[in-house]
Subunit: 215 residues, 2 copies
């Protein structure tokens, strides 16, 4: 398989974690989002949205949107499972993943921060402090709820005692939170999961700084 | 089942469509997002995130996040199917849904628009024209890619010849686009789907103006 992504993109990072947890082989085809490589004609033919990640499968399928890619991986490569075996548990893990994937990450990614920087009425653009505050509010809102959910459902990881899709989403979001200088002291359960991921080979191999395009 | 939602919330709207397509009975428990009803202690106990929708099932489960609710509905009430029978098709439908659910809707909902209004450096807040422009850019970006995907995969609906989860997402996003005065002329295939939904009983029953809390 070929993963089209970017070392520091949260959606690429979560996809790498899932691929690694399932011990799947893949080659990376990096796109530098800072230079707009994802808007080239060649890439737009693969993914008309011009966003990362995209996964080319061995059958020649091109899959887009990390949430859809992760569900496809779970269906086609079920071991180890990244979703619980019962519908209620699956709904809870998917809700945790969506809390991050829909209510935090989309507000903090590169294209949106660029728009936020352009929003000030004096035409000068928001400074880094304003950008950190913008990103931080969504992270803190989401993590506050997620911490409660992990207390209810987690036992070492977000849900139960083994990594699930929710952890694939959480670890990159914690990495992003640190880049925006968010104080994470109020989220001890999330930090426990992060500490566990820091010594887990699948998560280590997925770290942004361990990717071929990292600078 | 009890659906906690709000008549004009896009995520509540998409959940109603799925419930209706599957011909499931549910009672509505509306929360007025404009007065902050979703932040009451009672509701936060149900959903620590304080967002709509939440679905209380007949077994007493509380499900949150519309994407997780829709997957749960599909697993527990499989007829009629809202996902294709093959993994590749399911990945495509989920990618279309996520294109809307992650890359358009989160940038246009009430809590984010409120933050956008507060972002201008003169402290006066962005005016309605700026808010429409903010919302419109994400809708146009996303719909441009979705139109291409529907040309590839659709046959009357987003994917194939029957409604799927992707249509549950699309119709509320078109409704929202009109509220932000987005010119939709460039998206004829999406408008064809909208026309089909306008005469489909499940979609009609889910319309915001047909809900008990509509004003």
């Amino acid at each position: 398989m070929i993963l089209h992504g970017y070392w520091r993109s949260g959606t690429s990072y979560r996809t790498r974690i899932a691929l690694n947890l399932k011990k799947l082989e893949y080659r990376q085809a990096p796109l530098d989002l800072r230079t707009g490589a994802q808007k080239s004609d060649a890439y737009l033919r693969l993914n008309p949205q011009g966003l990362v990640p995209a996964l080319e499968t061995d059958d020649g399928l091109v899959l887009t949107q990390s949430s859809a890619i992760l569900e496809w991986l779970e269906e086609t490569h079920p071991e180890p499972p990244l979703l619980p075996s019962d519908a209620a548990g699956r709904a809870q893990v998917r809700a945790m993943a969506a809390l991050i994937g829909c209510d935090i990450h989309p507000l903090n990614n590169l294209r949106v921060l660029k728009a936020v920087r352009g929003l000030t009425s004096d035409g000068m653009g928001a400074d880094q402090t304003s950008v950190d505050a913008w990103a931080g509010q969504w992270i803190i809102d989401g993590f506050t709820a997620l911490e409660t959910l992990v207390v209810r459902h987690g036992d070492g990881w977000c849900f139960g005692g083994a990594p699930t899709l929710a952890d694939c989403y959480l670890i990159p979001q914690l990495y992003s939170a640190r880049r925006f200088h968010v104080d994470l002291a109020a989220f001890p359960r999330l930090l426990e999961i992060e500490a566990r991921a820091e010594v887990h080979p699948a998560f280590i191999a997925a770290l942004p700084e361990n990717q071929p395009d990292a600078d």
